[in-house]
Amino acid sequence: MTDEWDWAKAGGEAYDIATSALIAASFVVRPPLVEDRTAQMLGLVPDPSQSLDSKRLKTARMVAGLGVEKLARRLRERGWTTKPLDVIQWEAGQSSRVPPALIAAIADELNMEPDRLTRATLAATSRLERLRDSALLRSLIDRIAQAKSLSKDAAFALLERSQPSFAYRGNPDDEQYLRILERFVEQLERGKN
């Protein structure tokens, strides 16, 4: 038995209490991500309406002149645990549920906006489908069709493909969502997209 332990025994209850507190703390586990406010605040909860676009990522990485290993290393330097295999899987479309904070880090390393690396998923698409008959969405599709000389179906497909990722941040209701899309169409009309 160590001298420290003898001392601890002499110290008695304080060590008992402190060790008990250590034991209790060691059993604490993190809550699931969706219930973790800090994880949400920091962008660690994957957004079901957006996923990493594998083709855009690969193109952007090559344009930036970064190899798979170099991108992974740069992300590790930022504190992420990314391995080259992760990047390969993202680019192969095998692992698209990447948290927004990591997408932002990837985009930062590739000198681009995070929105350019994501695409709307089924959840986002089905919301557009559901709202397709609303007066505002119909007028937006007309405006896109006119601005881009497209059929209405092609205009809808363009909107579906191009939905800005911020359209889902903060969980907007349908009206807010349509207003966000309206601003997006205004930009499109001004030739920004």
Partner: protein, 181 residues
């Protein structure tokens, strides 16, 4: 973003992703002193909110140690506030929720708490079965002593005795693993 020495400042999200659970345990440990373990998540949330707004001015060489220190301080601040609040209440404050602060500090002067918390799970398998069952039932499953006694078919006094022995064995195990700071 880089610090004054040109070192890259890691992404806070990445740090939380990597160390979140350890930080939650450190916060829980420190808040237990004040009977306020339920505030552990709030303490961590406050720390990260603050870091988003005001990144550290000092150059940080070891982010894990830095976060452990900041979370510990925040947890103690919040615990003190909670204990103070309780004392102002009619009878909410028990002596036990406030008095263990000094003994804890004595314990911590020779102990790296974050490391020790991580080492508890290495020590537990070496405990005698009955002692380990008692600790798991009391601390992991949150069972009351009398329920543990019923499940194990022993008296509540025996549970108390087993718990005391188990805690002492954990302490010895941590010492053997070199948990001193």
């Amino acid at each position: 973003m880089t610090d004054s020495q040109g070192r890259r400042i890691p992404d806070l999200a990445a740090l939380y992703d990597q160390h979140g659970e350890a930080l939650l345990r450190v916060a829980t440990y420190n808040l237990q002193k004040f009977g306020a373990a339920h505030l552990a998540s709030d303490a961590i949330n406050e720390v990260f909110k603050r870091l988003i707004e005001f990144p550290p001015e000092e150059d940080v060489l070891n982010w894990e140690s830095y976060l452990v220190r900041v979370v510990r301080n925040k947890a103690i601040d919040m615990g003190k506030r909670e204990a103070g609040h309780d004392r102002r209440g009619q009878h909410a404050a028990s002596e036990a929720s406030v008095s263990p602060v000094d003994p804890f500090e004595a314990f911590e002067t020779e102990y790296d708490v974050a490391r020790a918390i991580g080492n508890v799970n290495r020590v537990l398998p070496a405990l005698p079965d009955l002692e380990r069952h008692v600790l798991l039932a009391l601390y992991r499953d949150g069972m009351a002593s009398k329920d543990v006694a019923e499940v194990l078919g022993v008296t509540p006094g025996r549970v108390s005795q087993l718990k005391k022995q188990a805690v002492q064995h954990v302490y010895e195990g941590l010492q053997a693993l070199g948990g001193e700071s």
